[in-house]
């Protein structure tokens, strides 16, 4: 008998959960399993996967919404969207590269982990695009929250609470989300040779301009060749993406390039090169290296990211690059995970948080994957967990 439950209907999933609750059997909740290494390891006897709860339920391109069962593969969602020249504007990362996993990421997994990519700085995170959910709580009850319209403040927003809860509050069975038109044109302005602090200032300046930058990343010298070729000037590459109508993108690219030209040699990448570059940034390509070197995802105020990295470089072996205008730092430690030092330094630069995305099993066992919360907030989280999962059967240990 398989150790994994793979229900094919919401009712079947609810039955399994009711049984598990009655016998206090902990369940490891997964979708496609491509990012199940996120968070602390789960103490569970059985797996419960949404893999067979699959399929797009409704897609109305004119209303820009889609509903799908949680286990629907991302490639199915993306193919349907591409057929109508639409997209998930929050650009969810594919974790398979950095985590060394295989299989099919699911839409439920994307929302359960609130996975958001470079366009987060303007378009919002996964949680900003999730309009409605159905989920099974820890008592085996099917619950709905939200709906399928863009504006909805009817009752408490359990949609946001479940998004990013890593399967610890409920089993998502259906998700309804906003989709957006693919931009008809895109370009990237690349400035070469800026150091981290100069790049932070340049990105802040660009985002203060009325040009609607939709991606702002700084690719440090050690990683830039993994992103942009050797035919360009040397040094780190600071990249700014513009998207929109062709006329807009052309005009804005000129403005931005002119602004940059005062501080560094700059060039413009076309639409095709832009798509590839930002997919690589989204998926953290330089650290999709087949190793178990500790990989941290750090979220801080945009202008603080480079201060953190500078402080760490004095103390330990670390490689890093920046997305989200410098506020999202991808850190690869060369040896130890250094969680204590990292989290102390984050406090020192004004706060934020670090998530351990990848490490060896030994390191993971000794390192809290998520940033510990202040005591009163942690107490609230515990009370909430009890209200959704009174028997504590969903992904025990995963978030704390």
């Amino acid at each position: 008998m398989s150790m994994n439950f793979e229900p094919t209907s919401e009712a079947e999933a609810a039955d399994i959960i009711r049984q598990a609750a009655a016998h206090a059997v902990p369940l490891a909740i997964t979708g496609g399993g491509t990012r199940s290494g996120l968070g602390n390891s789960v103490r569970a006897e059985r797996g419960l996967s949404t893999r067979r709860l699959s399929g797009i339920l409704s897609y109305n391109p004119a209303e820009m919404t889609m509903s799908a069962r949680a286990g629907t593969p991302m490639r199915e969602i993306e193919a349907a969207l591409a057929g109508n020249r639409q997209m998930l504007a929050f650009e969810p990362m594919d974790h398979r590269g950095v985590m060394g996993t295989s299989g099919e990421p699911t839409i439920g997994g994307v929302f359960a982990a609130n996975v958001s990519g470079p366009r987060r700085i303007t378009a919002g995170a996964a949680r900003d695009h999730l309009l409605g959910i159905r989920f099974i709580n820890g008592s085996g009850e099917a619950i709905k929250s939200g709906g399928r319209v863009m504006k909805n403040v009817t009752g408490l927003d359990l949609v946001k609470l479940l998004c990013g809860s890593h399967g610890t509050l409920g089993l998502l069975t259906e998700v309804t989300f906003k989709v957006l038109p693919l931009p008809p044109a895109a370009a990237t302005i690349v400035a070469f040779g800026l150091d981290d602090a100069q790049a932070a200032a340049a990105m802040a300046h660009a985002l203060a301009m009325p040009v609607e930058v939709s991606g702002a990343a700084h690719l440090t010298e050690s990683v830039r060749y993994r992103f942009v070729g050797t035919s360009h000037p040397e040094g780190a590459a600071t990249v700014l993406r513009l998207e929109g109508l062709p006329a807009s993108v052309a005009v804005r690219a000129e403005k931005l390039k002119a602004a940059f030209a005062q501080v560094a040699p700059a060039t413009v990448l076309d639409h095709e090169a832009t798509e590839k570059l930002w997919r690589d940034i989204r998926d953290v390509k330089p650290y999709a290296d087949g190793t178990q070197k500790p990989l941290w995802r750090v979220s801080v105020a945009p202008t603080a990211g480079h201060q953190l990295v500078a402080a760490l470089r004095l103390q330990t072996g670390v490689d890093a690059f920046y997305d989200w205008q410098g506020g999202l730092v991808w850190l690869r430690m060369e040896a130890d995970a250094e969680s204590e030092m990292l989290r102390r330094f984050i406090k020192g630069i004004g706060g934020g948080h670090a998530t351990l995305v990848r490490a060896s099993d030994a390191v993971r066992a000794a390192t809290p994957a998520f940033e510990p919360e202040p005591a009163p907030v942690a107490a609230l989280s515990v009370r909430l967990k009890e209200k959704f999962d009174p028997k504590g059967i969903f992904n025990p240990g995963k978030m704390g």
Partner: protein
């Protein structure tokens, strides 16, 4: 007006201790921060949902987070209900007190604490008005995006409580999409901070849960919001149609085509007349329906986008197209729209509905709305955010005629049920408050509400925070 919406029964134990409570609060708060005289309490008896009134036990107007915490700690110790209040502009009765409640008003906490242009954030006290934020950063080329029509008066704390929207949310999102962090006080006086200047926070998305929780999870005292760079230019254009159906289908095609203007606002003929009389904005008076479509960017960008929108509008039989000729006229166009509720209030009393429907259902819901209104022998003016399907029928009635008022309330309930049945929801941006509380079971099953109430109880196990609101009084967990 018949009291058809019930409040919780006042707690006799609280009412009996009124004098003691007032004396204790006077000890907790600095001089000038407590109102307990009847004459002083009357201004707090209702909000913009004026059909219901309840004079509170006392009003606390704290000046600091520590004072908010001290009042809440005291109230939770004695089980005294608390009703948070910003500017009192709620259209759903979210800030209407109850006779055994202490109102905690944030109006004295109105300072902007930090503006950080490099990180594009502003940290403000909860009593800062919505417009104050944009005004404070405008000279440096930034703005705060959510723009409820009441933005001159409404506070950021109230906006967070209701997850407020506004005309320009079509492009920029509502409050929850523009909120990065809060400092808040829990029911027992515990002060917590959620989020900050980073774009996300660890753990459960408590910030997302708090935003729109209508003052039931705690009292927000400070907020960090996202600032955006102002566009190079913006221009509203008026599109007049000879039928609401044509206007509705034009909206659906504009959105479906992949063009997302900053705003698409809809007015029907009664609303056009009311707003034009107030603002003299140059709205065409000979059409049945009007769309205000705003585009932004450089001149060339606005021209390109408008050309596409005009081509679509022509396919839907547009009768009149008027571009604003100057910044002054653009301001008048928006003044007319944003004054719609106030201008309507000059000619009649009204209830403002707030249901949201899928875009494809706009024309159908408009038609059914007018049938419902006719069947009750009432009048309606429609003015709303068409781009995201957020409808605002204003049902006109006479507040001094109890039968008329009852008819208006019944018609409103029918319209909200219509919105839910069309695949939408009861409220897009105004909140449930007391107004829509008893309709919640039309949108949710009891089991859904039970889960929401369980989440609520994780924050406020005593149910003292704004307790008469949001959840139907029947079906609540036993105290």
């Amino acid at each position: 007006m018949p009291e058809t919406i019930a409040f919780l029964e006042p707690k006799p134990s609280v009412l009996a201790r009124r004098q003691q409570i007032v004396e204790d609060l006077a000890d907790i708060l600095p001089p000038g921060c407590l109102i307990s005289e009847k004459r002083g309490l009357v201004p707090f008896e209702t909000d913009a949902f004026i059909a219901y009134r309840q004079v509170p036990l006392a009003v606390a107007l704290p000046e600091t987070t520590a004072q908010v915490a001290a009042v809440l700690k005291y109230c939770s110790r004695y089980g005294i209900p608390v009703v948070p209040r910003g500017a009192g502009t709620s259209l759903s009765g979210g800030a209407i007190p109850q006779s055994d409640a202490v109102v905690i008003g944030l109006s004295k906490m109105s300072r902007i604490l930090d503006v950080d242009f490099a990180n594009r954030t502003a940290t403000v006290q909860a009593g800062v008005t919505n417009i104050n934020i944009s005004e404070a950063v405008s000279a440096d080329g930034f703005f705060y995006a959510p723009d409820p029509s009441s933005q001159l008066a409404c506070t950021i704390g109230g906006n967070i409580g209701m997850n407020s929207g506004g005309a320009h949310c079509l492009k920029y999102g509502v409050t929850t999409n523009n909120l990065l962090g809060v400092k808040m006080v829990l029911f027992d006086g515990t002060v917590i901070e959620l989020g900050g200047k980073a774009l996300d926070a660890p753990g459960y998305d408590l910030l997302g849960l708090v935003c729109g929780s209508e003052g039931q999870l705690g009292i927000v005292t400070e907020a960090t919001v996202r600032l955006l760079a102002k566009p190079e230019g913006s221009r509203p254009v008026l599109f007049g149609f000879m039928s609401s159906e044509e206007a509705g289908s034009c909206v659906a095609e504009v959105i479906g085509s992949g063009i997302i203007p900053v705003a698409i606002e809809f007015m029907d003929k009664p609303a056009i007349g009311i707003c034009e009389a107030f603002a003299q904005a140059g709205y065409p008076m000979d059409v049945e329906a009007l769309l205000i479509v705003e585009v932004e960017g450089s001149e060339a960008e606005m021209e390109a986008m408008l050309a596409s929108i005009i081509a679509i509008a022509r396919r839907h039989g547009v009768a009149t197209i008027r571009e604003s000729q100057s910044a002054a006229q653009a301001a008048l166009i928006w003044k007319g729209r944003k004054s719609a509720f106030g201008a309507t209030g000059r000619i009649a009393d009204y209830i403002c509905m707030d249901g949201t429907v899928p875009l494809g259902q706009l024309s159908y819901v408009l038609k059914k709305t007018s049938e419902i209104i006719d069947s009750y022998g009432l009048r309606v003016a429609n003015v709303f955010h068409a781009g995201d399907g957020n409808m605002h029928p204003l049902i006109l009635y006479n507040i001094n005629d109890p039968e008329d008022a009852a008819r208006a309330e019944a018609a409103g309930n029918d319209i909200l049920k219509l919105c839910v049945d069309a695949g939408g929801c009861l409220t897009g941006e105004h909140g449930v408050g007391i107004e829509k509380r008893d309709l919640m079971l039309h949108q949710f099953e009891q089991v859904d509400l039970n889960q929401q109430m369980a989440a609520r109880a994780a924050f406020d196990p005593q149910w003292i925070m704004n307790p008469s609101k949001v959840f139907p009084l029947e079906g609540r967990p036993a105290a």
